[in-house]
Amino acid sequence: MNLLRIIPSLLLSNKKLVKGTMFKNHKSAGNPITTTLAFENQGADEISIIDIDCYKKKDLEPDYNTLKEIAKFSTTPITFGGGVKNLTIAKKVIRAGAEKIYINRSILKNKEIINDLVKYFGGQAVVVGINLFKENNKYKIYEDIENKINLEKYILQIQEMGIGEIKIMFVDREGKKIGLDLEYCKYLNKIINVSCVFEGGIGSLDHLENAFDEGIKAISLGTMLIFCDYNIVKIKSHLLNRGYNIRL
């Protein structure tokens, strides 16, 4: 049986790490190479890195060079994405050292690329990210400005295509340390039948405990590790103390 996972979430911009609140006001989060190694040494189960510059400039390819530098000393699975628009780019990302590909915006208009990636790398290497934003008490996909996409249908469609994992980010909670929206996570867990990672808003050990109690199996942390004194060793010792099936 798989153990519960704690996955630091790193955002890459101009070869440096940043972290913000609700996708804005990014502040320095350190050097990507040393920070990744630090989290790994502290026992992170995986590392998630997204190149956010690719979201600002449409034709930009992901920062393979920084990923290569990170991968030089990494001994932990890395999920890397941001700007993965086709199989060629995906191949370069895997070659540069990632274990899994993260795709999000590229597939909102056209899901075909998922088939290419699954066929070439196997579904276990494909992670689809979905950014959620609560508007008028309803969740929609953050980038879906015209609110055209039916979220539940979208999730069912991508799952049919053989992907290995979905990553849900609660954008309106990012950086706020208020915990995940557990009610909504519960609902999502009913329709998602692949592995799922949740992120957005975790700020305390209680938030983590509550999330795992609801059946969530993997959580991504950003603010809690970067702007607070939470060491992954401490987080995991605490969880182990409380009986959770986590690895130290």
């Binding site: 049986m1 798989n2 153990l3 996972r5 790994e40 040494n41 026992g43 189960d45 290569k68 991968a71 030089k72 000393f73 990494s74 001994t75 932990t76 699975p77 895997i94 070659r95 540069a96 050292g97 274990e99 066929k119 070439y120 790398f121 196997g122 579904g123 276990q124 290497a125 053989g162 290995g164 994992e165 692949v194 592995s195 993997a218 690895r247």
Partner: protein, 205 residues
């Protein structure tokens, strides 16, 4: 020591290369037959689909070459898919034949397909665990949806590590000059490093 890491296209050779390099060695990348000359240790990494990968192995003329190295004194480490190819036949992406060192077939863990992605506890043979310097129950990182099934009775004694994920999954096999792991030591932090260190110093009897 000349350590070769086989490059067959989809395999994540850089991670394996870096792990070996950071342990103080200078491995080379094996792209074709002639790179195998004078090789003293081989590592076959593994990310990808079985059918495609075996096809590429054959296209690069490496399939037969590696088969010749089995049962010699050149230690081979097979990781994940690189481990599965040492079985009799594989069914991912179509049916193909492996090197048949272990009489087993590689089939999906479950139907409909599920992935074992994440850290799992592996039960390891006591003496081996002591030699490697890890506990009998140690965590490693797995990322696969197929596994070695129906290992025939004679080969079963070579399985020195199992994990449980819906089924009992053979995770560590040592037979003759072959060491195979279903998990990814290059992605298993200090536990993985200890296993790699052990392989790099290993001389099969």
């Amino acid at each position: 020591m000349k350590i070769g890491i086989i490059d067959y296209g989809a395999g994540n050779i850089n991670s394996v290369y870096n792990s070996v390099y950071n342990l103080g060695y200078d491995p080379i990348i094996i792209k074709n037959q002639k790179d195998l000359k004078n090789i003293q240790k081989i590592i076959i990494p593994g990310v990808g689909s079985a059918f495609n990968s075996i096809k590429i192995f054959k296209e690069k003329n490496l399939f037969e070459e590696i088969k010749k190295i089995i049962n010699t004194n050149i230690p081979i480490l097979g990781i994940c898919l690189g481990f599965q190819i040492f079985s009799r036949n594989l069914f991912e992406g179509g049916e193909s034949n492996g090197w048949n060192l272990i009489n087993a077939k590689v089939v999906p863990i479950d139907n409909p397909a599920i992935f074992n992605i994440g850290w799992c506890e592996v039960d390891i043979d006591k003496d081996l665990a002591i030699n490697i310097g890890i506990k009998e129950k140690t965590n490693f990182y797995f990322c696969h949806s197929y596994f070695l099934d129906n290992i025939n009775n004679q080969d079963r004694k070579f399985v020195l590590g199992y994990t449980t994920f819906k089924k009992k999954i053979p995770s560590l096999i040592i037979k003759s000059n072959f060491m195979g792991v279903q998990f990814h030591p290059e992605k298993s932090q200090s536990n993985g490093n200890k296993l790699l260190k052990y392989f790099l110093k290993w001389q099969p009897q």
